[in-house]
């Protein structure tokens, strides 16, 4: 509760500073909307914002599921032999530094402007950090636990699912956090660059439209929503999962 009050106080202070900067003036009013006008934009455009948010979440969710499945497969393949490990490590070294948005031109050429191209960019952006974390996790499992699993007669897929997966959960969790953040970034960035196709779009597309129409309060409202969703997912999903798993097992320092 005290934590919560501190957070509210922090937001209030930030809003007051924001307002002070706005009142100080010295630049076009249009560029720096007040807290009030952002709130009004949020309210009047709530339906549009909600539908755009849902669209974003849907496409990010789809992309993340594909990326997680691919990353798991990639990790299982890479731990199954030295040869594969080298291939996956090399691929990661090549692909990981490449910003997801840099792949957008290729995605448009391959899939055209539309949901498939965005999905491709999201999957590409999320899959490399996911593999990176999963692979690190699988390789930092306590040897004794792995050998107890083998001693019981577990091997291959069964050993991976029953022992390696839970034993590497701290890394899996941080991989999911990074993957989720990358997926968000990719979806917003992709829509900001080429907009949306067929009238459907997410929050990136919303930001793009508001900027195009010079509706600055709307731009800030969109950004605020992106931040709020980030916070919500962290507190409602990741923190909860963490508390029920690695914090409960004390496999991470809390």
């Amino acid at each position: 509760m005290r934590d919560f009050l501190w957070k509210i106080a922090f937001i209030l202070v930030a809003a007051i500073i924001w307002e002070l900067i706005r009142l100080a003036g010295g630049y076009p009013k249009l560029l720096f909307p007040g807290v009030g006008s952002i709130a009004i934009a949020l309210w009047t455009e709530r339906l549009d914002i909600i539908s755009k948010t849902l669209f974003s979440l849907k496409i990010i969710g789809m992309g993340l599921i594909v990326a997680i499945v691919l990353a798991m497969l990639g990790t299982f393949i890479s731990i199954s032999g030295k040869f594969f490990a080298e291939i996956v490590t090399d691929l990661m070294a090549i692909m990981h530094p490449l910003p997801g948005i840099a792949i957008l031109p290729v995605a448009i050429l391959w899939f055209g402007i539309g949901i498939k191209a965005i999905l491709f960019v999201i999957v590409f952006s999320a899959v490399w950090p996911l593999i990176n974390h999963f692979y690190t996790g699988f390789r930092s499992i306590p040897v004794n636990q792995l050998e107890v699993g083998r001693n019981l007669g577990l091997a291959g897929w069964e050993l991976a699912m029953k022992v390696m997966l839970p034993a590497s959960f701290p890394h899996i969790l941080s991989g999911l956090r990074t993957g989720w953040a990358r997926a968000w970034q990719a979806s917003v960035a992709a829509e900001l660059v080429f907009g949306a196709a067929g009238g459907q779009g997410g929050l990136g597309w919303y930001l793009y439209k508001k900027r195009f129409m010079m509706e600055t309060p709307g731009v800030f409202a969109g950004m605020l929503i992106i931040v709020l969703i980030g916070i919500a997912v962290e507190y409602l999903i990741f923190a909860g999962v963490e508390k029920r798993t690695v914090r409960k097992w004390k496999t991470i320092i809390s």
Binding site: P142, N144, V148, G153, V163, W249, K250, T251
Partner: protein
Amino acid sequence: MSNLLTVSEITKIYESGKRKVVGVKNINFCVNKGHFISIIGPSGCGKSTLLRCIAGFEKTNNGKISLNGRPVTKPGPDRFMIFQGLDQLFPWLTLKENIVFAMRVVDKGRENFNKKAEAYLELVGLEGFGGFHPYQLSGGMKQRASIARALSVRPKLLLMDEPFGSLDAFSRRAIHQMFLKVWQKTGVTVVFVTHDIEEAIDLSDKILVFSQGKLKGSIENPLSRPREKDIPAYRSFLLKVSDFLDEECDGCLRLEEPSTVGAKLAF
């Protein structure tokens, strides 16, 4: 008594780059069913290597290991290993779940193993701790739970690699007494690796002495159970074993290229 484990002409060589390091060489011995044997020797003498070969974690270069006449090729629950490390329990499961997990993997049944798991916890003196997670336990309790989990899959052979080496003297004494009772009750056969001579004498029927990858000798333990430390027979046996060790292991610390080591230290 029948022969449970037969180790014949076992050789294990580790290759690191171009260099070859002998783990163990031409090892021969047998273990009778229900017996408790210890393997002692200085660090690096190959005793853990041998245990890992019996467990099936390491492939041997030569020789044959067989359990009940069947050759050992890979790890299996009929030979269960207990390690020195205090991290061998699965931290994401409670103690009871750790045991149920093991029984479920081995027996492949959907039967409710909870009752049995509790019985095994009680066997090692951990009744009432089934709901605890490993981090909530002391080192001694963790090793007790590991023993309970190992016994729950009813192995023919327990392989123990300095299982009490990380414990303080008090917990070690308590766990010795507990483990001897459990051994007598279950009749399980034990191969126990240690570098602690007294531990070997207190626990085992026979002591195998290792040095530089070779089996130097085997000494039958003449003391009757329960073993008392303050009798002359105990002290004279202790002397006998340590003299044997001193003789066989004299200068056996395998320092590699001491001249270069010295040169490095000089700067």
